[in-house]
């Protein structure tokens, strides 16, 4: 039976429409032949179809619209009849002869419409009569449509201000009374529907009620369109009466819908001036009413009203819109004990958006909202509703989006407290949002105090949080997050060295206590930041004001040492090693010998104790040799110690070719072209000879192990080193030693079997030729070499 419902309904509608059309046809014919009696008879029969109880609101509306169109023709006919001399009063009586009440009332409304138009009686009398007569229909569906017909035909005949129906006796008050009465009656019918029929059909009934809602709401639309409903009239009559009806009906559907209607159909200006009354009704509504949506929409409307009309802003302040809304929300949440946390958060989110738009200069308002929000959340622990969490992120993002400047958000003292309610994952998401906002807007954070506040906000990314068991953070996500923190460090900057040092010190304190696993991401940019600061420091003794600078290079180097020190514990020894060398170079530039030496020592210790992989050793040693070569700050003793160690490391590498290469690279440590005191040809030669010896033994080893050649390449590399120093004119590097090395390579059998070595050698020879051709002092030296 229920399954066939829709199909049956189609049949009923089709049957109703057919009977309807037939009667409409005869009605039209009667009209065409000016036969009033028949016109009334057939129209009444036609309207009888509206007496059905078998149609759903949608289908009934279909039939109603047909009737509506036909009745317009009848109305025109009535009008013509009165012009032909038929008394409208008689007509008004005549239509009441219809046998059934529903057709009778439709006809009465139609005749009433003509009656008002003829102005033979005051509009208000007729309207009053009609709205009272309509009480005759108490069936909700039929009653609602009948009254909506009355609303529609009276729409342009209300004694509104400026209307032709306004008169001494007829005022806009009568118009308002009429519409309010009709509204009240309709709402009663509508609400009563909820309580009719069996309980199991509740869902269907609610769907039907929902479909019918606009018939009721339409009355509010009519009121809003009345010229005479000015602010006073609205405040003193319309709003209190409508709200009274809404509150007293105690019906969830009606309350939710009609509150929304009021907000949407009446102008913002009115809402602003009657906020007390409107908001005062909210806590009186049924606890199940979705007041959150209603209030959110109100705030949305008011925000865009303020956004579009800057001149109304003073009124917002004058009526204290913000505090009224804030209070109302508090009261509503209090009144609705079971309100889900999501609704509460959404309400505050809307309020925050409202105040950010309307009062962008009132940060205290925004902070108040956050404070109220905290009050609601506290005692409830972390939020576990995903949607509520999302809404909280929206709420927290709003100030960032509004001001495009995290510095402003940092002034909101309640902001970090709200963040406390987020679970760890969301905290991190929120932190990333904050960082993204900073990067996007290129916001520079300039004081240590603000940096401290910022770090508090993003501490989800700075500190290890107590993760519940089994909830490991994804490796890639973690890396991504930490990289964003690393980028952030470069946005924390102040031209003033002292403040800048404070900033990096704050960072240091947080990073060092935040757990070891993020250090490898955060320490390098912090080192870079500190090194940059060193470079900016005035040269010592260059301080014209004689002011004792509180930030000295020494102090920063100390700082650097402390942060890099943390790295070996955070299993990143290779990274610490590199950073030490970098710092050593910086100390070199600052002419700080003991500090540079200290950094080198640290790097050496790491090399010895932590770097065990042979490939990593090769790379590390190259870095040591390269850095050491560039150092100018060391005195003889320190330098000797360091170079001695470096050559020692070189000879101890695992593979012979690596040893050879490292040792010959060490030769550079003894001959610095631009440095008179470091030009020790003997030791250069010593290095080269030692390297050559290693190359020889490498060759012998490869001779036994068949197939692994490559030592010839080593000899060619050696030749190139020899040439380099020979060209520099180091006396210990003789032309003979070069020649014998060339001969050695030429005699090497494997040379022809190794195309890469062969072309390397050819290039080397060609290079020598070129040098010769170029002539000059260098050319002359090359000239001496006999090939």
């Amino acid at each position: 039976m229920i399954a066939d419902g829709a199909e049956d309904e189609e049949k009923w509608l089709a049957a109703g429409a057919a009977a309807f059309k037939q009667n409409a046809y005869y009605m039209q014919r009667a009209i065409d032949s000016n036969n009033l009696k028949d016109a009334l008879k057939y129209s009444a029969q036609m309207l009888s179809e509206l007496r059905t109880s078998k149609l759903s609101p949608h289908k009934y509306y279909d039939l109603y619209m047909r009737a509506f169109d036909e009745l317009r023709k009848l109305e025109i006919f009535f009008m013509e009849e009165t012009r032909r001399g038929c008394s409208v009063i008689e007509l008004y009586e005549l239509v009441q002869h219809a046998g059934n009440i529903l057709p009778r009332l439709y006809l009465l409304c139609t005749a009433g419409s003509v009656y008002i138009k003829t102005k033979e009686a005051p509009a208000k009398e007729i309207l009053k009569d009609l709205v009272e007569m309509c009480r005759g229909i108490q069936h909700p569906l039929r009653g609602l449509f009948l009254r909506s017909y009355l609303a529609q035909i009276s729409r342009d005949k209300l004694p509104d201000i400026g209307s032709e129906y306004e008169g001494d006796a007829d005022t806009v008050n009568d118009a308002v009374e009429f519409v309010l009465l009709n509204f009240t009656e309709m709402n009663k019918l509508w609400v009563r529907m909820q309580h009719q029929g069996p309980a199991r059909e509740k869902e269907r009934r609610e769907k039907e009620r929902s479909e019918l809602r606009d018939l009721v709401g339409k009355n509010l639309h009519v009121l809003s369109q009345l010229e005479g409903v000015d602010l006073d009239m609205y405040r003193d009559t319309v709003l209190p009466r409508v709200l009274e009806q809404i509150v007293n009906c105690r019906d969830e559907i009606a309350q939710y819908y009609l509150m929304d209607c009021i907000i949407q159909v009446f102008p913002d200006e009115y809402h602003l001036q009657t906020l007390d009354v409107l908001l005062g009704a909210c806590p009186q509504l049924q606890p199940s009413v979705d007041i959150m949506t209603v209030l959110s929409r109100l705030m949305e409307r008011l925000s865009s009203y303020a956004a579009l009309n800057a001149e109304v802003l003073p009124y917002f302040l004058q009526v204290e819109a913000f505090s009224k809304l804030n209070n109302a929300i508090g009261k509503v949440i209090e009144a609705q004990e079971d309100m889900p946390i999501l609704s509460a958060v959404t309400l505050y989110s809307s309020l925050l958006k409202f105040t950010l738009h309307v009062h962008p200069d009132r940060l205290d308002y925004a902070d108040q909202v956050l404070g109220s929000c905290i009050k609601q959340l506290s005692g409830k622990g972390k939020i576990d509703d995903i949607r509520a969490t999302k809404e909280l992120v929206t709420l927290l993002s709003a100030p960032l989006e509004k001001y495009n400047d995290v510095v402003t958000a940092l002034k909101l003292t309640n902001y970090p407290l709200v963040m406390e309610f987020l679970d760890n994952e969301t905290k991190r998401i929120m932190a990333t949002v904050i960082i993204r906002s900073i990067m996007k807007n290129k916001t520079i954070i300039t004081t240590a105090e603000k940096v401290e506040a910022l770090l508090e906000l993003i501490k989800g990314l700075i500190n290890d949080l107590d993760e519940p068991q089994g909830l490991e953070v994804d490796e890639d996500d973690f890396e991504e997050e930490q990289n964003s923190v690393a980028r952030l460090i470069h946005m924390l900057y102040n031209d003033d060295s002292e403040e800048m040092f404070k900033i990096i010190s704050v960072l240091k304190n947080h990073f060092l206590t935040g757990g070891p696993k993020r250090l490898k991401f955060t320490v390098p940019p912090l080192v870079v930041s500190a090194l940059k600061l060193i470079r900016r420091l005035p040269v010592e003794g260059d301080n014209p004001f004689g002011k004792e600078a509180s930030v000295s290079a020494t102090k920063i180097f100390q700082f650097l040492n402390q942060i890099i020190e943390a790295l070996p514990n955070a299993p990143s020894p290779d990274l610490a090693f590199r950073l030490y060398l970098q710092c050593a170079e910086a100390a070199n530039k600052c002419d700080e010998e003991p500090i540079a030496y200290e950094f080198f020592t640290q790097a050496y210790i790491l090399y010895e104790e932590e770097i065990s992989d042979s490939k990593a050793q090769v790379t590390a040693l190259q870095l040591i040799i390269g850095t050491l070569q560039r150092m100018r700050v060391f005195g003889v003793e320190n330098r000797d110690t360091l170079t001695h160690k470096a050559t020692g490391y070189s000879a101890k590498l695992l593979k012979k070719p690596d040893q050879c290469r490292a040792v010959y690279a060490c030769s550079h440590l003894f001959w610095l072209e631009d440095h008179d005191t470091i030009q020790d040809g003997e030791r250069v030669l010593l290095c080269l000879k030692r390297a050559l010896k290693i190359a020889n033994s490498a060759q012998q080893m490869s001779g036994t192990a068949r197939g692994s050649t490559g030592s010839v390449t080593l000899f060619i590399e050696m030749l190139n080193k020899y040439l380099y120093f020979y060209e520099k004119g180091i006396p210990q590097i003789t032309v003979e030693s070069v020649e014998s090395l060339i001969q050695l390579v030429k005699n090497e059998e494997s040379l022809t079997s190794e195309p890469s070595a062969e072309s390397f050698f050819a290039s080397t020879l060609r290079f020598m030729e070129l040098k010769k051709e170029k002539g000059g002092a260098i050319g002359d030296r090359y000239e001496e070499i006999k090939l």
């Binding site: 059309k21 169109d69 729409r155 018939l215 709401g217 339409k218 209607c261 159909v265």
Partner: protein
């Protein structure tokens, strides 16, 4: 059957929420304008008598809710429309982009007998706003759209200042009249021999 001289023309105004449908109707019918935004609920109409080629017509202008949640009973009132007016706000691209939806929705729901040639009129409203500086939909773009939909007449109006409103509705009335949407022809399938109607219909005026 005599073809009755049609005197009632039904016009439906459609468009996004806030483009000024109600304001256009109020300006045309009552010569009034209010700057306040008031949402429309359901469907509402006003009538206006218009003179055209020495004949008097009643223009029944249906204003509709742009917000879907205020259209709970559906659109049965589309039926029998003689012209459909599509309105957008020249300062809102979204309201222009949605015109296609409104047009298609109307053709589906009203199902006119000849959808290809059903008369539409396009109105770009709010040309007065900010002296035209905040305008985002150009006249050219709007006209191109009209051309692509079978040369829909186009008007740029300001309901606030009354600019072009009268002209637009003149055109709307003219097109409604030409629409050729005849009322459903109905012939009763059962003929009651005994009734007086029967007698009248044998002696009909055709």
């Amino acid at each position: 059957m005599p073809s009755r001289r049609r005197t009632l023309l039904k016009v439906i105004i459609l468009g996004d929420s806030g483009v000024g449908k109600t304001s256009l109707m109020n300006q045309y019918v009552n010569k009034k304008f209010s700057n306040q935004y008031k949402a429309t609920i359901g469907a509402d109409f006003l009538t206006k008598e218009v003179q055209f080629e020495d004949r008097l017509f009643t223009l029944q202008i249906w204003d509709t809710a742009g917000q879907e949640r205020f259209q709970s009973l559906g659109v049965a009132f589309y039926r029998g429309a003689d012209c459909c007016v599509l309105v957008y706000d020249v300062n809102s691209m979204k309201s222009f982009d949605n015109l296609n939806n409104w047009r298609e929705e109307f053709l589906i729901q009203a199902s006119p007998s000849d959808p290809e040639n059903f008369p539409f009129v396009l109105i770009g409203n709010k040309v007065d706003v900010d002296g035209g500086n905040s305008r985002v939909v150009s006249e050219k773009k709007a006209k191109a759209w009209c051309a692509s939909k079978g040369n829909i007449p186009y008007f740029e109006t300001s309901a606030k200042e009354g600019t072009n409103v009268e002209e637009a509705f003149q055109c709307i009335a003219k097109n409604a009249l030409k629409s050729g949407e005849e009322e459903e022809l109905y012939l009763p399938d059962t003929i009651d021999v005994g009734t007086s109607n029967q007698q009248r219909s044998t002696g009909c005026e055709c």
